[in-house]
């Protein structure tokens, strides 16, 4: 057998579950992605590059990855605070707030998009004040960041909550008794122990933002070269029956996302390694 460690496992069914996993991943993930790449290959090299790397498309890549990165970073910072508050403090209506966190998961993305646009547009509740100080929220890259932050928040909060619950309270007290200030205790003791979970949350939030379409198209205004995200370009191509062109952009997105997520996972694996004592 190629998997010698599983030979004497107390849990039966390795063959069955492994077979099922491979089949499932093939059908749901690999097959469609394979088809995508094959379809884009019909363009040939020159056609592929022309479709996937012209100035308008490159601008959309920059916008998509840039706003996703900003949104995921914002979520990492504020998601950590929200998760911390929800785990560590007793506050009135905590259960209710906790349930609110999941709302971006459940809401149809178009609904979030319309709601956010209504709030942040020039005449919206918040948009009017932002407009007064010269900030254009809706129909700008800022609007895209707002939408992506909204939909990515639960990923960070939900991955961090169990990690924060797991922190040994005594190790904080130990740090304090050793003379550490609150800031040193946070930075040297708490933060490193939630870092792996934070990176996971960041990666999930980032990945979700890369693929987001529904909420962004309403708030972004979709101006070519300015506020046009890659997913929208793909839809546009599809509407023009340019399937190969759409798959070319999709293939680029796929490759880039995979590389970035793989890198984040590698960092995450590297930071988590120490806890398990394999260092």
């Amino acid at each position: 057998m190629a998997f010698p460690r599983t030979k004497n496992s107390v849990l039966p069914g390795f063959g069955l579950t492994m077979g099922y996993t491979v089949l499932y991943l093939s059908l749901i993930v690999l097959l469609p992605l394979g088809a995508l790449v094959i379809k884009s290959a019909t363009l040939g090299w020159a056609g592929f590059w022309a479709a996937a790397w012209n100035t308008r498309v490159v601008a959309s890549y920059k916008l998509t990855f840039g706003t996703s990165l900003i949104a995921a970073t914002i979520n990492a910072v504020f998601g950590l605070m929200v998760a911390w508050t929800l785990v560590r403090y007793t506050l009135p209506g905590k259960k209710f707030i906790d349930a609110l966190i999941d709302l971006p998961f459940a809401l149809p993305t178009a609904v979030s998009g319309i709601a956010l646009t209504a709030v942040y547009a020039k005449n919206g509740w918040i948009g009017q004040y932002l407009d007064a100080i010269g900030i254009k929220a809706a129909f700008s890259p800022l609007g895209i960041v707002i939408a992506l932050t909204f939909i990515g928040l639960p990923f960070v909060v939900r991955t961090l909550q169990p990690a924060i619950e797991e922190i040994d309270r005594e190790s904080e007290e130990a740090a304090a008794s050793l003379g550490a200030t609150r800031w040193q205790t946070f930075w040297r003791v708490i933060f490193p122990s939630v870092l792996p979970a934070l990176l996971t949350g960041f990666a999930l939030s980032f990945a979700r933002a890369l693929g987001e379409y529904g909420s962004v198209v309403f708030i972004s205004g979709n101006m070519p070269m300015k506020t046009e995200i890659a997913s929208l370009l793909i839809i546009t191509k599809l509407e023009q029956y340019d399937y190969a062109g759409a798959t070319a952009i999709a293939t680029m997105m796929l490759a880039a996302s995979f590389v970035i997520l793989f890198a984040i996972n590698a960092v995450q694996w590297w930071t988590a390694r120490k806890y398990r004592g394999v260092a």
Partner: protein, 358 residues
């Protein structure tokens, strides 16, 4: 006097953890706070460390070397705290754990890098963990982790070392070893230490003085010998070691148990009343026949000779179980078996009267 606590109280909700406790600890002393769970000993330790605050009381004081530290947070008290479950930083190597206290010092008092390295190496040698500095806590055994935690606490040169049930999570053999080792270490470095434990054997073996606590109050403070042989209260008598309790009487100023007067217990002015009589198992003797001295008939119900003494359980005529420790020689000589009828001879005893304690 290195640590002085006066009028310390603490309540958690409606639960009164500490009731007006005052305690003074001498410089370089190792004191054990001993008591059952819920007696307030850990709360007292945490208040000394600054991890908990005492109830507001204008008379309450916490002094380290005559300096009032009550308003100082834990980080400014310079105490070394050792937790029952080690509380090591899991993501740091043992070296980094021990160095932590020095590395978080303000820049002007922080030792230089190579000085930190030298001191950590020295401390790791002191706690017999030389060469394990690069390991992570998860790669050490329980006993090693606790020694690492101790080294970490000592690294900041604490004015007082506080140990909260440090050996509670370890198995009996390791515990015994660490106990002896801790006492030797203390004789070497002489840092004022307070050890919280519920294990009376540990307290009696390690400490210079024992503070017996019960229900948020101090029952007795004394040397191990004093608290064991001269218990001030019924609680101390019952908590330290096994003891047989009898309901006796006072008649004409003398303690009487089952019609037999007990030597050496006189209560002048007390004519008649109830008395509690305490005898430890080693304070009783077993003989097969009456010899004229005061004794009680009993029947042997169980014998356990596996140990340094034979533990004999007997039952008196009125159905009370009495434990007797018999030397192994006596046990062999008397040829006792379960069911043998014997006579129990009290060698010494202690008598407590309700509201009239000696």
């Amino acid at each position: 006097m290195s640590i002085e606590l006066t009028h310390i109280s603490k309540a958690f909700g409606t639960y009164q953890a500490l009731r007006d406790v005052s305690l003074a600890i001498n410089d370089g002393e190792l004191v054990a706070l001993l008591g059952p769970s819920g007696s307030g000993k850990t709360t007292l330790l945490r208040i000394i460390a600054g991890l908990d605050t005492p109830a507001v009381d204008p008379r309450s004081r916490i002094r380290f070397y005559h300096e009032d530290v009550a308003s100082r947070p834990a980080a400014e008290r310079r105490v070394g705290f050792v937790f029952q479950h080690y509380a090591l930083f899991r993501h740091m190597s043992i070296f980094d754990n021990v160095a932590f206290g020095m590395r978080v010092m303000p820049r002007k008092s922080r030792p230089a890098k190579n000085e930190i390295e030298r001191r950590v190496t020295e401390l790791l040698r002191l706690v017999q963990l030389d060469g394990l500095g690069r390991r992570f806590p998860s790669q050490l055994s329980g006993g090693q982790r606790q020694r690492a935690a101790l080294a970490r606490a000592l690294a900041v040169e604490p004015r007082v070392l506080l140990l909260d049930e440090p050996f509670g999570a370890l198995d009996a053999k390791v515990r015994q070893g660490l106990r002896t080792w801790l006492r030797r270490l203390h004789d070497e470095i002489h840092v004022t230490s307070i050890l919280v434990t519920h294990d009376q054997e540990e307290a009696l073996e390690v400490a210079d003085r024992v503070v017996v606590m019960n229900q948020g109050r101090i029952e007795q403070i004394g040397t191990p010998e004093e608290v064991f042989h001269k218990p001030a209260t019924q609680f101390v008598m019952e908590f330290l070691g096994q003891v047989n309790v009898f309901r006796g009487r006072v008649q004409g100023g003398k303690a009487v148990l089952a019609g037999v007067p007990l030597e050496g217990h006189y209560f002048p002015g007390k004519e008649e009343g109830a008395a509690m009589v305490y005898m430890r198992p080693h304070e009783l003797d077993i003989k097969l026949y009456k010899n004229g001295a005061p004794s009680f008939p009993a029947k042997i119900t169980r014998i356990n000779p596996a140990g340094s003494v034979a533990k004999v359980t007997t039952r008196t005529n009125d159905g009370q179980d009495v434990l007797v420790d018999l030397s192994l020689e006596d046990y062999e000589r008397l040829n006792l078996t379960e069911g043998t009828h014997v006579h129990i001879y009290p060698k010494s005893s202690r008598v407590f009267l309700p509201e009239y304690e000696i």
